[in-house]
């Protein structure tokens, strides 16, 4: 198992896209250094001010980059499954005394661990920059490492299942793109946008159903920013306060997303264990 995970790392590091991945991160980090410089030259701030500023920068950064980071991570790891399934590779892998579920799970964990470490690198750097510049050290921002990894893990289960069934990296990426940038944002605002346009109960039900069915990487971000800003999080249902027009996120989305992950991976393992290669 460790061997497969280790090799997945090697594969990730050997790929050209990996270089792009880290260049992207390096640019993000450089931009942060630049921006934060401008903020802190304004003079000596009180601790409370700098705390607020840091929180604002962190929230702003996560809001802008969250989906992009997840999508980049998916792109850089999407080919693992199809390349593992190539003729001449998969035969040899299965001929080893390792059970098929173990092969697939190791591959999956390898990708997740790879992204986790990348997140440690990216978010850790940004956190370090912000803390050094502001003098305000608050580790809650580092929670984004875990939440990003979890959001990736959920979306990657989709890559796995599509990779297994179609053996196509491109299809897996396209589906994820659609989910992250089109469907999920749309479903998240369904109450505000779609339901104000349509009154049909069945349509509403379908959208609600889809909303609860699909994972919601974007809402992981809302959870993270709420945690950073010390806001309240509802247990089951997100709510909107009409007066202050503040949105309160609930734990429901991570819970349902993790369920989605488990179901998807269970099916993938089942499918992989039964298939002829």
């Amino acid at each position: 198992m460790l061997t497969i995970i280790q090799n997945t790392f090697r594969e990730a590091l050997a790929k050209k896209i990996f270089i792009g991945y880290y260049i992207f991160y390096a640019i993000v980090i450089l931009i942060m250094i630049f921006l934060v410089n401008m903020d802190s030259v304004e003079g000596v701030m009180s601790l409370a001010d700098s705390k607020m500023l840091v929180h604002q920068v962190e929230t702003g950064f996560l809001t802008i980059s969250w989906n992009l980071i997840i999508f980049f991570s998916l792109i850089s790891t999407a080919s693992f499954i199809p390349s593992m399934l190539e003729k001449g590779t998969i035969d040899l892998l299965i001929s080893k005394p390792i059970s098929r579920p173990m092969i697939l799970i190791s591959k999956y964990l390898g990708a997740v661990l790879f992204v986790f470490l990348s997140m440690v690198f990216l978010m850790g750097s940004i956190w370090l920059i912000l803390s050094l510049k502001s003098g305000y050290w608050d580790p809650t921002f580092l929670l984004s490492i875990l939440w990003l990894t979890l959001a990736f893990a959920v979306m990657y289960s989709i890559v796995v299942i599509i990779g297994l069934t179609t053996q196509s990296t491109v299809v897996a990426i396209l589906v994820n793109f659609f989910l992250i940038f089109v469907l999920c944002p749309l479903l998240s605002v369904r109450e505000a946008v779609i339901f104000s346009l349509v009154t049909n109960e069945t349509v509403k039900f379908v959208f609600d159903f889809l909303y609860y069915l699909f994972p919601k990487p974007g809402e992981f971000r809302d959870i993270t920013t709420s945690l950073i800003n010390g806001e309240q999080i509802n247990m089951w249902k997100s709510s909107v306060n009409a007066e202050t027009s503040t949105f309160t996120i609930s734990w429901l989305s991570p819970i349902s997303s993790v369920l989605f992950l488990l179901v998807t991976m269970a099916y993938s393992v089942y499918y992989f264990a039964k298939k002829d290669y």
């Binding site: 790929k15 001449g88 001929s95």
Partner: protein
């Protein structure tokens, strides 16, 4: 206990779009014993690769069962002492030769350390790949890849090795080396299962062969028996044979075919020599003695032809 044991294996592939069915294996039952080099022969598409894949649980049979070392192949533990060289194998191209061996060695259950490194050195040396060990395998030639694949299949010192077209793309010298290596492995009591088209090669190294055609097992037996079955010797003499000499020859081999200056016998080496002694003691001069052995290739072509016309 048999090393390989199969019971009525059937494999039917259904083409995805045409719904057409291909019978890749038809009621295939056979065993392989410890220490044998077993060769599986057959034309393209006969089902050879399919059989190996079923034995390694890469593909599942439609019906029937298979065991390795007495363990059902559905249990991945059956593959603990097994090595495999797939046809057209593909290693991760970003690894070097040495890393490939390390990776697959560990997957086979070897633990990283000096023992494995020693074994890797040994295998690379055996395959003449030592100078390429730190080169990315992207840059390997076909024959080098094949040798690396072989090294991989033998690395963990398995008791059973499946080789699908092992000498594919390897030059004659390399092929000879591979044959020697296989013989050496066999001498250590290991079992080898080999798929090949190169019949002369199979004839040189295999103890037993099976011939597969369109999923049917059409002939199986020891290589010696299969090729000896048609052992015919022909003796040509300088002098015309007298009645007296002909009688003496018939006394040795009653079934001998006798012509004016020719004797054909299928009675084996001892009787052949008896006939020769008798001819010489009667002052008959011999011109040539020819052995008509059918090669495995002749046998193969005959058998396949016969099967296809049926």
């Amino acid at each position: 206990m048999h090393v390989i044991e199969t019971q009525n294996l059937y494999k039917e592939y259904t083409q995805k779009f045409s719904k057409q069915k291909v019978n890749a294996l038809n009621d295939f039952t056979f065993n392989v014993e410890q220490g044998e080099i077993f060769g599986l022969l057959g034309p393209n598409g006969a089902g050879k690769t399919t059989l190996i894949k079923i034995l390694l649980a890469i593909t599942f049979p439609t019906n029937g069962s298979a065991k390795l070392f007495g363990t059902d192949v559905k249990n991945h533990k059956a593959k603990t002492k097994v090595g495999y060289l797939p046809e057209n194998h593909k290693f991760p191209s970003y690894l070097t030769g040495e890393q490939v061996l390390k990776y697959y060695g560990q997957l086979s259950g070897m633990s990283a350390g000096t023992d494995m490194n020693k074994r890797i050195d040994e295998m690379l040396g055996m395959m003449n790949l030592t100078q390429w060990r730190n080169t990315k395998i992207k840059k390997y030639s076909k024959g080098m890849m094949q040798k690396l694949g072989l090294a991989q299949s033998m690395l963990s010192d398995p008791d059973l090795i499946f080789l699908d077209e092992p000498t594919d793309g390897v030059d004659p010298i390399g092929r000879k080396e591979i044959r020697d290596i296989l013989a050496q492995i066999k001498s250590r009591g290991k079992t080898i299962f080999l798929n090949s088209h190169l019949l002369s090669e199979v004839e040189m190294i295999c103890d037993r062969v099976a011939i597969l055609n369109k999923g049917d097992l059409i002939k199986e037996g020891n290589v010696d028996d299969l090729t000896k079955a048609e052992n015919i010797f022909a003796i040509h003499t300088v002098d015309t044979l007298t009645m007296d000499v002909k009688q003496k020859v018939l006394a040795i081999d009653g079934n001998a075919g006798i012509g004016e200056k020719e004797i054909n016998t299928e009675a084996g080496i001892d009787k052949l020599n008896g006939i020769i002694d008798s001819l010489r003691s009667n002052g008959v001069k011999i011109q040539t003695v020819n052995q008509k052995t059918s090669t495995l290739e002749e046998l193969f072509i005959n058998v396949i032809k016969k099967d296809n016309t049926n």
